[in-house]
Structures are given as C-alpha cells and as structure tokens.
C-alpha cells in the first residue's frame, strides 16, 4: 500500500496560534493545513491521505463541538484533538464521549500536541487500511454474477452441493463449477475463509 504524507488540519480562530501550531507540525515533517473557522474546513477539498484534526473548542460561529457532530452525521471519520481555553470537565467529557481522541488545555505543551497528533494519525492509518481492505473485499464480492451470488448464499448457509443443485434445479456439476468461480473471484483459500468474509460483509451491511 502506498502511503502519502499525512495531513494535520488545524482549526483555530486565532491566527498566531494557527501559525505556531502549523510551524510546530511542519518541524516534525508532517504537513499541516490551517483554517480559521469550521465552515472554511467543511468547504475545503481534502485529499485522501491519513489525517487528523486539531480543533479549538471556542470559536466564533460554529464551535468545535458543533463541527464534531456535523462530521459524525456526515459520515466523515477523522480523529479529533480538541484544544480548549479552560479545562471544562463536562465539555471534555462530552467531546470524548462523541469520539474525540484527546482533549488538551491551552496553552498546550508542544510535545503533548505532537504526541497526540502522532497517535491520531496512527489511528487514522489503521482505520484507513481496515477500510481499504474492506472495500477491496466488497469489490471482489460485487464481481460475482447473480447466479454465483445465489450459490454463495446457499454455500454459506451450510448446504451441500447436491442440496444446492436440487434447490436451484440444476446439476451438481454446474454447482461445483459456480462454486470454484466464487472461491477464485473472492480470493477465499478455504470454505471457512469464505464464510468469515461473507459474514463480515453482511454485518457491516446491516449497520
């Protein structure tokens, strides 16, 4: 898998803080893009690379917590590191509950922020590769013909070739051929593997 340089998005209404944080991030070889507001970030184009978000809680207009909820409801997953002017416990609890990775208090120690960023990017990479693997698997299953999908479903349900042939009104030999195609196209190396993959697709579809 080819990895491109991760991006750290920084959203803070205070220009000097943005620039400071951006400079700090660049100094460790990461790339940082800054925004002055939540809406600016939402309208920007985001390249498909591992990323995380350093987000100020208190901003004019949409607050950091509002943006967090908006991203979640839009299905955009990106690890968030919150930065707050004051360590308000209820606020941080809320942010963490909704999936924030870290909640830091201003002024933030540089090393703490960088550690949090590293952790966030690692987490994003992990999730991205999981998602990529899943997408690949999804693609392989989608390449099956309707007939092959039918056979797959019956195989996964635990039926023998003979039973499947009876049910579909065809010969056992034909089923064997379909089944071989299914194994080949999905890249399954055993029946157990095939069942596991099919199960995973089904549960994530139900979600």
């Amino acid at each position: 898998m080819k990895e491109r340089v991760p991006i750290v998005y920084v959203i803070d209404d205070e220009a000097l803080i943005r620039e400071g944080v951006q400079s700090l991030i660049k100094s460790v070889g990461l790339s940082a893009v800054t925004f002055a507001s939540a809406s600016e970030f939402m309208h920007a184009e985001r390249p498909d690379v591992p990323a995380c978000l350093v987000l100020d809680v208190r901003m004019p207009g949409q607050s950091g917590l509002d943006l967090q909820r908006q991203l979640a409801s839009a299905g955009i997953y990106i690890p968030i590191i919150f930065i707050s002017g004051h360590g308000d416990i209820p606020m941080s609890v809320r942010a963490m509950k909704e999936g924030a990775l870290e909640f830091l208090t201003k002024p933030v120690r540089g090393q703490d922020l960088l550690d949090a960023i590293q952790k966030a990017i690692a987490r994003d990479q992990e999730l991205r590769s999981e998602r990529a693997e899943y997408a690949k698997m999804r693609g392989r299953f989608d390449s099956l013909t309707p007939r092959e999908t039918e056979v797959l479903n019956l195989v996964v349900a635990g039926l023998l070739n003979k039973q499947i042939a009876d049910q579909l009104g065809t010969s056992e030999l034909t089923i064997k051929t379909h089944r071989a195609h299914v194994m080949e196209k999905t890249g399954a190396d055993s029946l157990a593997h095939l069942v596991r993959m099919a199960e995973r697709l089904r549960t994530s579809q139900r979600k």
Binding site: E14, L16, I17, G20, S23, G85, H86, P107, V108, L113
Partner: protein
C-alpha cells in the same frame, strides 16, 4: 381608704333589724338615766338612734327604729307617763316628734340611697377604667412586639440585601475575570505554540533558522498582544474614573460610616471618628473613594470578628499629612497580619477569608493610585491593623 368606705354593710337582715332595735334601746336607756338629774323629759337621743339605724342598717330597720322610738316616747316621755294615752294638749308635741322621726328617717335613707348609687357608679366607672387600662396595656404590648418584629425584619432585609449585593458583585467580577482570562490566554497560547515550534526547528539535525526565526517573531507578537490586552483593561479602569470633582473627604467618611454602621453594630464594633475639621478638599470620584473607605472599614470590621478579649474598635481618622497631602487611616483592634500575609496583602485573589475573593484591597489600591495617592497597611500581630491612604490636595494636585 375610699374603697373601704364605699363598701356597703353587707350584714344579715335580722342582724340589721336587731342593731336598729339596739340603737333605740340604747337611746331609751340613756334618756331614762339622764331623766334623773335633768327632770325634763328629753327625747333628743331618739332621732339620733333613728338616723344611726337608717344610716348603718338601711331603710327597713330605720322604720323599725321610728316605730319603736315613737312608742317609747309615747310611753315614757309624754304624760301621762307609763301609758300610751295622749292628752289632747300634747297631741301637737307628739305629732311633731312623729313627723321629725319620719322625716329624719326618710331624709337619711334618701341621702344614703344617693350615696350608694354614687358609689356604685364610681365603682363601675373604676372597673371600666381598669378594664380599659388593661386593654390599652395589652394593645400597647402587641404594638411593641410588632415594632420589635418589624425591626428584626428590617435588619434581616438589610443583611439579605448586603449579601445579594455581594453576590452580584462577585458574579460580575467572576464574569469579567473569565473574559479577561480568555483574552489573555489566547495570545499566551500563541506564544507557547510558536516558542515550541521555534525550539523544534532549532533542534533539527540541521536547524532551520528561517522557520525558527519566523516562529520566534510570532512568539513576540503574541506576547505583545497579551500586554496590549492588559493595557486595554487598564485604560478601561481609568476611563471609568474620569468623574473628578472637588470632594470633602470628611463628608465622604461620615457618609460611609453611616453605611457601615449596621454591619458594625451587628459585629459589636464601635466606630470612632477623629476628623480634622479644616481638611482641604481633594479632587476625585466620590463613589470610588466611598468604595475604598467602605472596603477598608469592612476589612477592619471583619478582622475583629475573632476578637473576644478586648473591645472591638474601629478608629477612622483624617489628617493633613503635609501641605499638599491628606491622609486617612482606618485602624482596627483586630488580630493583625503577620509578615507573610502582609507581603501578599495587595495581591489580586489573595484572601484569608472563606468567602473573600481577594479583590478588595487590590482594587482599593488601584483606585487610590489612579487618584495620585498611595495606599498601604501597617500591622502589629494581635493588636490590630491600620490601613492608610494619602491623596493629593487640590493645591498638591495642581503642582
């Protein structure tokens, strides 16, 4: 004594009649005895017995005395003696006696009756007066109780109002402090972030001086911004104190003492004033100066709350310090402050009290300094503290 006389004779009936008979018998006996030395038949004692009977025993016994008296006179003193017969020549004499006896009885019984009525009326009047007096007394007591209650309510109200004012003040200061904290914290966060970046650029194997320099410059900008915020807050404080008029400090002190009197008496503190009569005027904001004096007085009163072994006294003095300065001092007989506390006394948010917010003295000092004066404290542990301030006089300020 009047009470004793006014009491009617409450004797049994037979006793009263018996007594009337006894009066007449006594009169008869005495008359018979007197007859021996004074040959003339004398009956003057009988009317006396009748009058006594009527007066002391009532009208009925009086009539009995009249009848018995007439019979006795007829029998013993009107010839022929020893018989009830009357000679024609003695009839007028006899009738005169009967008439006199009856008239005496009637007159005295009437008089007695009148007197009794009067007495009764007076008794009743007295009784009513007593009743009304008792009523008035209880009404008066109720009124006194109500007044006491009202006073207590008013005091409670005053306490509540003071407390409310304090809460409002603290809340306002709290909000103000929160917003100042944010305003200052933002540039400070920028300073830290940029300084961190600067250090990081310098720490690379081949330090990136261009980036490090840029970060350092932003750090400086942030620090400048923070100090600008503080300057803005300062000018805000000064702007609010532009109201400068001629004020007489003694007047302000007197007004403030009136404001603090309630709090002082609740804390068993006596306030003594020692003001120089010809104190020159100063230029200032009367409300702010009043706040300072009130604040210092409250501090003094509270400093004495733990004192039990001596009188709690607050001495407020005004003096002419020199030609161009007046001085006001507020001295308490409280617990005093030790050297460690003294050093921090004017630090913002430093307080020794549970409910204090530690802004009273710093604010007072900044007000006095904005007026061109000085505010300081002197203290002896376990003897008391003196908070003093000077202000330039009109002439002093003109210099």
């Amino acid at each position: 004594m009047q009470d004793k006389l006014s009491k009617p004779l409450e004797l049994p009936v037979f006793f009263r009649y018996g007594m009337a008979a006894a009066f007449v018998a006594a009169a008869l006996l005495l008359s018979l005895v007197l007859r021996v030395p004074f040959a003339n038949p004398s009956w003057f004692l009988f009317p006396a017995a009748i009058v006594a009977s009527t007066w002391f025993c009532g009208r009925g016994p009086g009539w009995l005395a009249v009848c018995v008296g007439i019979l006795a006179i007829q029998y013993y003193f009107i010839p022929p003696f020893g018989s009830f017969l009357v000679r024609p020549g003695d009839i007028p004499y006899s009738i005169t006696f009967i008439f006199c006896a009856a008239a005496a009885n009637w007159l005295f019984s009437w008089r007695k009756q009148a007197e009794d009525n009067l007495r009764e009326a007076r008794d009743e009047l007295e009784l009513r007066v007593r009743e009304r007096t008792a009523e008035l007394k209880s009404t008066n007591n109720a009124l006194l109780f109500q007044m006491e209650e009202q006073k207590r309510t008013a005091e409670a109200l005053q306490v509540t109002r003071t407390e409310l004012a304090r809460v409002v003040r603290i809340t306002t200061i709290g909000e103000l402090a929160a917003s100042i904290a944010h305003e200052v914290n933002q540039p400070l966060a920028a300073v830290v972030a940029n300084a961190d970046a600067c250090v990081a650029w310098l720490g690379l194997e081949t330090p990136n001086l261009v980036e490090a320099r840029a970060a350092a410059e932003r750090s400086i900008q942030g620090a400048t911004r923070a100090s600008e915020v503080i300057t803005r807050i300062r000018s805000l404080i000064n702007k609010s104190s532009t109201e400068r008029v001629r004020v007489q400090l003694n007047r302000i002190i007197e007004e403030t003492v009136a404001l603090a009197a309630g709090q002082a008496s609740r804390n068993d503190v006596s306030i003594t004033l020692d003001l120089v009569s010809d104190l020159p005027s100063v230029l200032g904001d009367r409300i702010q100066l009043q706040q300072v004096i009130l604040n210092l007085m409250m501090n003094g009163i509270e400093a004495m709350s733990g004192v039990t072994d001596r009188t709690r006294e607050l001495l407020v003095r005004s003096r002419l310090q020199d030609a161009c300065q007046v001085m006001v001092s507020i001295e308490d007989t409280g617990i005093g402050v030790n050297a460690e506390t003294m050093a921090r006394l004017f630090e913002p948010f430093f307080t020794t009290r549970q409910q204090g917010i530690g802004m009273g003295l710093p604010i007072s000092r900044s007000i006095i300094e904005a007026h061109g004066g000085r505010l300081w404290a002197e203290s002896v542990v376990n003897q008391g503290t003196a908070l003093q301030f000077t202000l330039p006089t009109l002439e002093g300020a003109a210099v």
